[in-house]
């Protein structure tokens, strides 16, 4: 037990050295951060002397991963959004209508005339004039069903078709709803990511949570409200033919028409055809600009198919107005002066420069497929975060010093060994945190301080045991050997149970609490490692060198 083979020693010291190497960049936090940012910037664009200087501040061959600071330490905004997945069902039904119409028209002889009826948003109701042809109608519509394209939904169709009196009712099947939901959330996630990236902040954290939720954490942004504005807007841009203009908000728009308010003029409403000519999905680019009168505007370009549709429509409708609609509000309704064939155009409204810039970003990133509701939001100011870091640092240093002094007084030389192990321990925690890319939060700092207090436990167990064994006078080497041997089961049991609770906390906790679970869990691992291997190796090396006849622990 006391003769530790050479390779074992090499492995132990190598692990320690490795851990410390990874921990080291954290001691030079701002310098390494500057270096990393510079490397990224140089990769992305051309290099400048300043960037090169920032990059040179930290040697390239050293590890440059640093612990991420959580929002509570760095400041920033946190949002938990729920995607209203059922929004998409209505779109799907609208998309299905032309197909259903065509299919039923082919059966006109048996089903008679058809008409779309009002229905719940997630269903499509079609009345046929000859109810006795229902079977044929159902068959025709059912032929439109496609298999669901997911792993779990294999074998089921995407729509369910039923009859209700003289109406054919089409709904999405459960399997298809699940698949659609998943796609909607995925798309929303992508679009949120694009929008946040457009603003260009450092390391935003955007991830899916549970079935239909998205967590968005953006460090450095001023407030959650700002972030909400950026990602909460659906930004669905559509171009509609204008039917008429009115000042009565309650006017009945008529079948398949819609009534939207004007963004510019209070009390003005437009009645538009519900089906859009072109939509924002066909945009390839949008940029903030100024129109000929110097007013802020947004220029846009369509993709080829969008450009063609837009060109055809404008050629056929010169002289009549069309409306540019953003999220259910009419930005403007200009009259078509001439055919727009180039596939590009300009939106002029009552914008400020900020609004036109924002709109351009939103249009470039694309529209959200569904609306978001925000369940949780947190803003932490950078000063508060800096205060927390400062307080955490002071508290850790004081805690550290107190424990070091106390251990030294209690166990003398052995206490010093334990202290060295404790220092290594904290180094290793930081090394591991950096290596796995974990995030340090304020409770995480508390976890480290707690670990400082608890990490000596394994050593205390061993030292106390050695003291006991020394009483039965077996000589120092034997006592140390027995001390380690007999304390081992207590060390393992005690730490495994604590580790179990840390794991549960990690699995069920969120945000800061999870940060605490991580440092606590890693602290347990490193403290067991340093106590069982590192301190023992130090003691063994000391024994070999000094060969003391008696020891006092």
């Amino acid at each position: 037990m006391l003769s530790i083979p050479l390779w074992n020693r090499v492995v132990i010291w190598a692990l320690v050295a490795f851990g410390l190497l990874f921990a080291m960049p954290n001691a030079f936090y701002s310098r390494v951060e500057g270096h990393n940012d510079a490397v990224k910037a140089i990769e992305a664009q051309a290099s400048t002397p300043e960037l090169e200087a920032a990059r040179g501040a930290w040697p390239d061959w050293l590890p440059a991963t640093i612990v991420n600071l959580g929002l509570d330490l760095r400041g920033g905004a946190h949002l938990l959004a729920e995607v209203q997945v059922s929004d998409v069902y209505a779109d799907r039904m609208d998309g299905l209508w032309p197909e259903v119409r065509d299919a039923l028209r082919d059966e006109r002889a048996t089903v008679g005339t058809i008409r779309r009826m009002p229905s719940a948003p997630d269903a499509l109701r079609v009345r046929i004039s000859q109810p006795e042809g229902m079977d044929a109608a159902l068959r025709a519509v059912r032929d439109l069903a496609r298999p669901v394209t997911t792993l779990t939904g294999v074998g089921s169709a995407d729509i369910e078709v039923a009859s209700d009196g003289d109406e054919v009712v089409v709904r999405l099947s459960e399997a298809e709803k699940l698949a659609t939901d998943s796609r909607t959330v995925q798309q929303s996630l992508e679009i949120i990511r694009r929008r946040v990236d457009e603003v260009g902040t450092r390391e935003p954290n955007i991830q899916r949570q549970a079935e239909d939720r998205i967590l968005i954490q953006v460090p450095g942004i001023g407030s959650a409200a700002e972030l909400k504005e950026l990602i909460g807007t659906t930004a669905r841009l559509t171009f509609h033919p204008v039917v008429s203009r009115t000042e009565d908000p309650d006017q009945e728009p008529g079948l398949r028409n819609v009534l939207y308010p004007s963004m510019e003029d209070q009390g003005v409403y437009y009645i538009l055809e519900q089906t859009a000519v072109v939509s924002g999905e066909d945009l390839t680019d949008a940029q903030p600009a100024f129109d000929q009168n110097g007013r802020p505007s947004v220029t846009f370009r369509f993709n080829p198919s969008g450009g063609r549709q837009f060109g055809t429509y404008t050629s056929e409708n010169v002289g009549s107005p069309f409306a540019i609609v953003l999220d259910g509000e009419v930005i403007s309704a200009p009259v078509i002066q001439e055919p727009i064939l180039g596939g590009s155009g300009q939106i002029t409204g009552n914008f400020t420069v900020e609004e036109s810039t924002q709109l351009a970003i939103l249009l470039r990133a694309g529209a959200l497929p569904a609306e978001l509701t925000f369940l949780e939001e947190r803003t932490i100011g950078p000063e508060l975060g800096a205060d927390s870091i400062a307080a955490g640092k002071v508290a850790s240093i004081v805690a550290f010093t107190a424990v070091l002094v106390f251990m030294g007084l209690s166990y003398g030389l052995f206490g010093i060994f334990a202290n060295v192990a404790l220092l290594l321990n904290v180094g290793l925690i930081f090394g591991l945190l950096s290596a796995i890319g974990a995030t340090l939060t304020l409770p995480g700092i508390a976890g480290i301080v707690l670990t400082i207090g608890m990490a000596v436990d394994a050593n205390v167990l061993v030292f106390e045991r050695i003291r006991e064994e020394l009483k039965t006078a077996k000589g120092p080497a034997r006592a140390i050997e027995l001390g380690y041997e007999k304390a081992l089961s207590a060390i393992l049991d005690a730490n495994i149970t604590t580790f179990i609770t840390a794991s549960i906390l990690f699995m069920l906790g969120s945000g800061p609490v999870r940060g605490f679970a991580i440092t606590l869990g890693l602290g347990i691992l490193t403290s067991v490692f340093t106590a069982i291997y590192v301190t023992r190796l130090m003691i063994v090396m000391w024994l070999e060198r000094r060969r003391p006849r008696t020891i006092t622990v």
Binding site: E377, R378, A395, S410, D493, T501, L505, P512, F516
Partner: protein, 323 residues
Amino acid sequence: MRLKLVPSETNWQFFRGSKMTFGASLVAMVLSLLLFAILGLNFGIDFRGGTTIRTESTQAVDVAAYRDALAPLGLGDVSITEVFDPAFGADQNVAQVRIQAQEGQESVTPEVINAVEAALQEVDPTITFPSVESVGPKVSGELVRTAILAVGLAIAAVLVYIWLRFEWQFSLGAVAALVHDVVLTIGIFAALQIKFDLAIIAALLTIVGYSLNDTVVVFDRVRENLRRYKKMDLKEVLNLSINETLSRTVMTSFTTLLALISLFVLGGDVIRGFVFAMIWGVIVGTYSSVFVASNILLMLGVKRDWSKSGDGGAGTQFANVDA
């Protein structure tokens, strides 16, 4: 000479007043539950939904003026508390404004926040808002369920682990100690009306882990001594084991408390409640591993694994069967 918190050789009779200590623990638990039932916990927005806004100003906090400024907004239940911390500078005056969850909306709308901030700026132009946090009722409901699940799961996992490593009596003893610690912690939070939020759940689980750590070390020694002193009375074995590990128990609790107290004093007001829970937990946990866990073990008795006698030995005079 070495510093010693506990004499190197002790033979204290931990079970002499076992009825007293056990009774005291029971009374404390009942009292905690009563406090919880009567006063309830001062739940933070994590568990109740709502919004908290932290304000900071160079002028002194005037709670009444803040309240008057916010009253016309009609936000329902608004609580304003001033926050004190030794780390604050002389011109750093911090307060916490808490607004109940608004009817019919999940997280707070930017309009409400703007209105609140504008109203407070009216009272005190130097005021700033270092943090704004808002949790909708949907999430807070889930957080409550997850928190209860976490504590329950942790206790169950521990029960199983100790059962596997020791005997079921040990397991019950350890879990009784855990429940004792958790209940007493909830009791003190109800009594002092300290804000109970998600971080406190983390603290509760840490207490579970810590208290267990202590209990397991004592139990480990009990197991060892049961094998070594086959003829010794269970009470004696327990007492001996506690005495033998006492020095370690006190050492570790002391170093942990050293670290926690420095965090309590210097770590800032944001985590003070969290650290308070842990300090309390370490003290209660140390006590419970000696007086609750071992007491339960003594009551349940232990089947000594080498015993072939029919009645199970139960750590009584019948347990003196030779190996």
